[in-house]
């Protein structure tokens, strides 16, 4: 079986140009890593449908495009003022804004961060910080490496290091925005490393947004390290345009008694694939991964998660829901892997899908791999349509059909945010979801 390296000629040319641009601007410390990663990419290539983990997402036609990794002209932030304002909403937060892969200082709060929270970009890093980033980049995670991850490293450019000191409780959410509004076949490779000190607590909100008619690809990678008893609430909102493609690789390593909560909202995108790998490396660590997709048109979302229970008494919860309309496809793969030492593991996983149109598709693949005996693991998955009885009940109370369907849909989707979010962030997310459902999301006639 040959490896699919897409349009390798273009990639090689792009990579060479990228490396010389890096060298020209004096950023040489990562050259070796970048070269190595590109070689690695050439041997593994793009993921294909033949790979078990990629059964439901096809990158083949995209990979053939002449991809471009550097902007010819920089995006002018003022041109996307409207998008920016829409994304920040009313949320009071510390902000860091990227437009087209470059920081927009005017919109970012880098200067007024609270004590104990540091955001450092590539240029500002000292040697210690840089080696920390490189170590994270080179770390081997258990989930098989694939081409997208290697490609991110090969074109490592836009790097951000987030550090939270021990004992620090950050008062407001940290909101990182990735905005994009141009670029034919442009590939962005954002990378974030978050290192959280013991007993600290922080809420991180990541928003990805873009215009409707642009066909860029975001290939992001994030590595998160959570120290003992620290707590991280992570909210990801992806509402990119219908032409956007997004691959995200999110790796989390948790120390003893730490807690990690993820809420991942997926709206839009031609192709969206979210890999989440959470390693419970310390005793009594807990993680919960929640997700919601609301899809229509020809959108495609693939949530791929793997939770590794490595130590005793670790617990995990997963709760993913999808509303799928139009000709959209929603896929969910969730693996819970329990190592032999991880006795007293408690893991539960749920995936529910609602199909609202004739041509909507849902795939679900909840998996358990268990090598310890004193465990409690369960998963459940369902695929169905709106409950005809519930609809009839509402109709019999004089509620119009469209409104009744909207109410039922809202009830279905609201559950995820209700479970995992609180306060301002919850309002922020709920508003986005409501808006999405209000904008031309129709439930086709049900099959009676």
């Amino acid at each position: 079986m040959g490896t699919d390296t897409g349009n390798l000629e273009v990639l090689e040319r792009e990579h060479e140009a990228f490396l010389s641009a890096q060298a020209a601007s004096g950023q040489v410390s990562a050259l070796d890593t970048q070269k190595q990663a590109f070689e690695e990419f050439k041997t593994i290539g793009f993921p294909t449908l033949k790979e078990e983990n990629w059964r439901y997402t096809n990158l083949k036609s995209w990979a053939k495009e002449p991809l471009s990794f550097q902007a010819e002209t920089a995006l002018v932030p003022q041109n996307i003022q409207g998008l920016y304002e829409q994304v920040i909403g009313d949320l009071d937060a510390y902000r860091l804004v990227f437009a087209g892969g470059k920081i927009v200082e005017a919109w970012s709060d880098l200067a007024c961060l609270p004590q104990g929270l540091r955001l450092t970009t590539r240029d500002g890093m000292d040697d210690g910080q840089w080696s920390q980033v490189i170590a994270a980049v080179n770390k081997t995670w258990r989930l098989e490496k694939h081409g997208m991850h290697a490609l991110n490293t090969a074109f490592l450019d836009q790097i951000i290091l987030v550090e939270v000191d021990p004992e620090v409780i950050v008062d407001k959410p940290l909101h990182i925005l990735h905005l994009m509004d141009d670029g034919e076949n442009r590939v962005l490779s954002p990378r974030m490393v978050l290192s959280q000190g013991a007993r600290s607590s922080v809420t991180l909100l990541e928003s990805y947004a873009g215009g409707d008619d642009v066909s860029y690809f975001t290939n992001s990678a994030t590595d998160i390290f959570i120290e003992e008893s620290a707590q991280l609430k992570h909210v990801k909102v992806q509402r990119e345009g219908a032409g956007a493609k997004h691959f995200s690789s999110l790796n989390i390593e948790q120390a003893t008694s730490s807690t990690y909560h993820l809420f991942s909202l997926a709206l839009g995108s031609q192709i969206l694939r979210n890999d989440v790998q959470c390693v419970l490396a310390g005793e009594s660590a807990h993680c919960s991964l929640d997700g919601l997709s609301v899809l229509s048109g020809t959108e495609h979302v693939d949530h791929f998660t793997q939770i590794e229970h490595q130590k005793e008494q670790t617990t995990s919860r997963e709760f993913y829901k999808g509303v799928v309309g139009g000709k959209a496809t929603s896929s969910f793969s969730g693996k819970v892997y329990v190592h032999p030492e991880a006795q007293k593991t408690d893991a539960a996983q749920t995936n529910r899908n609602l199909l609202t149109s004739r041509q909507a598709r849902a795939n679900t693949k909840p998996q358990l791999e268990i090598y310890a005996d004193d465990v409690k693991c369960a998963h459940g998955a369902t695929v169905g349509q709106l409950d005809a009885h519930a609809l009839f009940y509402l109709r019999s109370r004089g509620i119009a059909e469209a409104e009744a369907k909207r109410l039922l849909l809202m009830a279905f989707v609201a559950e995820v945010a209700e479970r995992s979010l609180r306060g301002e962030i919850k309002d922020h997310v709920q508003a986005i979801v409501e808006k999405r459902l209000a904008q031309g999301f129709e439930v086709e006639g049900m099959l009676a």
């Binding site: 609202t356 795939n363 268990i370 465990v375 409690k376 693991c377 998955a381 169905g384 349509q385 086709e444």
Partner: protein, 481 residues
């Protein structure tokens, strides 16, 4: 729990059915090539079209690669070390009745606790016993013939009913289906054929005992069951095998076809030699079983109790083509010591209002690995399809593994698909409760496990259910600790 020594003692239970019958087998030297395929076909006096089919399968087999996706590990199989044909002697003057059967063979069955004539007479079961590769005894033929049911060995069916074989062979499991199915199609030695004509309810449960006997004999059985319109049949398959130290490959193919309003119930108790407590020896069981609900309102039900084999790789499936057709899969898979089981089912919904139920119970003990792997696919035309899946795993001992790999693919809005799975160890509370009432640990475990598997056992024909429960207790003796 402090009774681990007692438990250790109990797990020393050796495979009770281990013995080798010494019958001079008419065998080919080990090895696989086109001539072997031709030899087998000629030996059986097969028509040209069947030989051609075998050769096509063999060619396809050569192009395929051995699958590595199952969650099982074993040394690479050398297909040249396998003997592809072994038939008990004196096949020219094959026995007409039980009295003519080689007494040694009969004794073998007796040792197995299934005295053929007795069982046949008492239980009203017709037995088409496959001993090595040639059928040696068939009973109740008359009664079945009166009802119009054809139940015979596969070779006989090729001779007597070539039109039926030609019509249905390979239509459910094509020779190109997978690696082992292709191998089987090329070199299958014998098997059973069963045909229930229109409107007939088969007057008795049909049963076959598969035995692997001559050393190093790969067993490549082929079973084909066709149920015509409005007919019903219940088919039982059970197996035990003698003890030996070399791994044996078993790559069977089972095809079921159910036409309008027909129902096929297929039950299996599989207790082949699982290898010793160190994981030496044991059968490799790589089986392709599939049924097609071709007709409206047809039904196919698989029930299996898998306690044997070193490695099991088996996914009895149902293709629900006809509207309102039903597929069922009930399974208990037990893996002890170094056994590895990767088993499950596929339910492919194509017709409208089709429904399927999957109940899978996996039990792992000692160092065993037990996986459930299943696919539920609702195709776009399958309006109002319904599936319910439940797979539970029970773990004994901290070195075993239990895995679940379900796939749900839905392409129709009106489908309703539910999947549930759980994994846990045997509850200490339940054990304590039983112990407190004076039930010893062994019985308590047996009771709890039987309760765990009850949903599946209930689906087995009565005499099979009894055997299955006994098997389960033997397989798991002393595994709790």
């Amino acid at each position: 729990m402090g009774n681990s020594t007692a438990i250790e003692d109990l797990t020393q239970d050796k495979y009770k059915y281990g013995f080798v019958t010494d019958i001079e087998a008419d065998t080919l030297p080990p090895g696989l090539n086109e001539d072997v395929v031709r030899f087998i076909s000629e030996k059986k006096g097969e028509p040209q079209w069947l030989l051609d089919w075998r050769l096509k399968a063999y060619k396809r087999f050569l192009e395929m690669v051995e699958p590595t996706w199952p969650q099982v590990h074993y040394p690479k199989i050398n297909f040249q070390d396998i003997i592809y044909y072994a038939a008990p002697k004196s096949k020219d003057d094959a026995p007409k009745s039980l009295d003519e059967v080689d007494p040694e063979l009969l004794r073998t069955y007796e040792k197995l606790g299934i005295p053929l004539h007795e069982r046949a007479a008492l239980a009203g079961v017709a037995v088409d016993a496959v001993f090595d590769s040639v059928s040696v005894a068939t009973t109740f033929k008359d009664k079945l013939a009166k009802a119009g049911v054809i139940f015979c060995s596969f070779s006989e069916a090729v001779r007597e009913h070539p039109e039926l074989i030609k019509k249905y062979l390979g239509t459910v499991v094509p020779y190109s289906d997978n690696y082992y199915a292709a191998l089987n199609s090329a070199v299958f030695s014998d098997g059973s054929f069963c045909f229930i004509p229109k409107g007939v309810r088969c007057p008795m449960e049909l049963s076959t005992y598969f035995r692997i006997n001559a050393q190093n004999t790969g067993q490549f059985e082929r079973t084909l069951i066709v149920a015509e319109e409005s007919s019903y049949v219940s088919y039982l398959e059970g197996c035990t095998a003698p003890m030996r130290d070399e791994n044996q490959l078993h790559a069977a193919v089972v095809e079921l076809v159910a036409l309008d309003d027909a129902e096929i119930k297929y039950s299996t108790v599989q207790n082949w030699y699982p290898g010793d407590e160190n994981g030496i020896g044991g059968i490799y069981n790589f089986v392709t079983k599939r049924g097609a609900c071709r007709g409206h309102n047809s039904k196919i039900s698989w029930t299996q109790v898998e306690t044997g084999s070193a490695i099991t790789w088996k996914y009895p499936s149902v293709i629900l083509q006809g509207d309102n057709s039903t597929g069922e899969f009930y399974s208990v898979a037990v893996a002890n010591n170094y056994q590895q089981a990767d088993t499950g089912t596929k339910m492919i919904h194509m017709g409208k209002n089709t429904s399927s139920t999957i109940i899978s119970k996996g039990i792992s003990a000692k160092k065993a690995q037990n996986s459930y792997r299943g696919l539920v696919k609702i195709q776009s035309g399958a309006d109002h399809a319904r599936n319910y899946t439940q797979c539970d795993s029970l773990l004994f001992g901290n070195e075993c593994g239990a895995h679940t790999f379900p796939y749900v693919e839905v392409q129709n809005q009106s489908a309703q698909v539910e999947h549930e799975a759980s994994t846990s160890k045997i509850s200490e509370d339940q054990l304590f409760y039983c112990r407190q009432r004076g039930i010893d640990a062994e019985d308590a475990v047996s009771m709890i496990v039987n309760g765990f598997c009850k949903e599946v056992f209930r689906k087995l024909p009565m005499e099979f259910a009894v055997e299955a429960q006994k098997l389960l207790s033997v397989s798991l003796e002393g595994s709790v600790g």
